[in-house]
Symmetry: C2
């Protein structure tokens, strides 16, 4: 496949039957391939990552969104993650030989079509945003599903597509384009949520931290530890190792050990290369010098070098 | 391509015309793809890495070896790297859906055919070795090209294929099968070669170091630094980060800083994953959780998950 786009829709459900119905819609589209999905009751949220060419990704996004809108009733939905609707957010992400501009176009087609076919209002965010403040998901989701009926009427909050009112069971949907992100969780050897929150604050862009980082401090139920959860929206400019080193520095201050960590979602190769370059003092490692990538590219390129 | 083998032949030349003639032989084989090559005057050696299916890799290895044997005269060869012949060593390495056993078979076919067609004696090494001590390249190369005429007559040193005497201009060739290796160089901020040699000794399997590691200390001409060069033959059992940490520990003892490092050849993804798992305290990162690999595998596998 020469051109690849990734789509990571977030659906407001953790009901296995609904999850299965949504995944089936994606699986049934030719040239769309699920690479990962996770759901849990705590967040009551399904996050799917799939890839394909532009056409197949758009079709799979629309089909799965329509199924979710049919099956999910937001009036009964509770969960720890902020959400505005049954199909909460649908980002399109350039993966291979595609650009952010391609993904902006896809998001707009997706939003326009979904609104037309389901009557769910749609907001554009990220690179597809129609106004600067709509670049930020958190701003669009203010008040969440519960406040949507009122919020949608406020000045500057008219949806980009669809009616100017919340769908009675599916709320609203947000779609847009963004670069690939790195999600990363760091576990702290303390049950004191205040420490996790203070460290998260030190990282978070809006609180004086790194410009491309969002972070929260959360409790891990039943484990006597806490977690700093973060996302890095541009890990080329703000590399993961640097954020991790800042966590180490702040944790030390509170005499709290880091007891583990994990990627939340897929690990972008560039974050691993940056880690190796930093900790092993390598000057020159790039993606095309990684064996598995070099082999793949050589075969795809054919006889050229 | 469903089955991929890598071949990394080492030729005793750094003459650009000869290099080009050798590379051309590989490029001309359908389904054989060069992923990397390096050559320099100091070692007077060309190292090529190419991949393809079993048949194309065997053909490209034979064609390039025959060209090198035609063009290189070992009687005129000087260089810092130990070598036994014009085509010094030709390892076959499983890459994708192929096994060490497949590569042993390829090495034997390669050796048998090369000896028959060129009259160059061939030794099998690594996993293809016919006797335990022949597993080790250094043992086979003892005395190098200059001593080959005498060494080849000694007990236990009869070649596996071809005549029991050195080829007059091409010496002998060694071929075999091995796992993919990690080559890594660490630069020390001292011109004192003794420190580099002591650190290399601490790492080297034969001198009490890690079982899968070979290491040497060398001077970097004109740069006032020295280098510890190493290869890890099984980086799954002896991960790169651990060897690097041992270098740090030993360098500290001599108050010598590590000023840089580089992979020598391609970086295997697993070494980067191990680095991230160690330094970021990740428990669970595996190759299939790296975005670029997951996308590639999902598309290759088709609709399955």
């Amino acid at each position: 496949m020469k051109e690849i786009v990734e789509c990571v829709p977030n659906f407001s459900t953790s009901d296995p039957k609904v999850v299965d119905a949504i995944l089936t819609e994606i699986r049934n589209v030719k040239n769309a391939y699920i690479i990962d999905y996770t759901f849990d009751d705590y967040y009551n949220r399904l996050v799917v990552s799939f890839v394909g060419n532009k056409k197949s990704v758009l079709t799979a996004a629309l089909n799965s969104a329509q199924k979710a809108i049919q099956l999910i009733d937001m009036n009964k939905h509770k969960g720890q993650h902020p959400r505005l609707g049954a199909v909460d957010v649908v980002p399109f992400i350039p993966n291979k030989n595609t650009t952010l501009e391609d993904c902006v176009k896809l998001a707009k087609k997706f939003g326009k079509t979904l609104a037309k076919e389901t009557n769910v209002p749609v907001y554009l965010y990220g690179e597809a945003a129609s106004k600067p403040q709509r670049g930020d998901l958190d701003w669009i989701r203010e008040g969440e599903y519960e406040a949507l009926k009122e919020m949608i009427k406020k000045p500057g909050r008219k949806p980009d597509y669809g009616p100017n009112e919340a769908h009675p069971t599916a709320g609203a949907t947000i779609t847009g384009a963004r670069k690939v992100m790195a999600g990363f969780n760091v576990n702290l050897g303390t049950a004191d949520i205040k420490v996790a929150k203070k460290i998260a604050k030190a990282l978070h862009a809006k609180k004086g931290g790194f410009v491309n980082v969002k972070a929260i401090g959360v409790s891990i139920p039943g484990k006597n530890i806490t977690q700093v959860g973060m996302s890095i929206s541009d890990f080329e400019k703000t590399p993961l190792y640097r954020v991790f080193e800042l966590i180490k520095i702040e944790a030390k201050r509170y005499n709290v050990p880091i007891v583990g960590a994990e990627f939340c979602g897929m690990a972008p190769l560039k974050t691993l290369i940056d880690v190796a370059n930093y900790y092993l003092k390598i000057d020159n490692l790039t993606e095309d010098r990684v064996l598995e990538i070099a082999v793949q590219r050589a075969i795809e390129k054919g006889k050229g070098e």
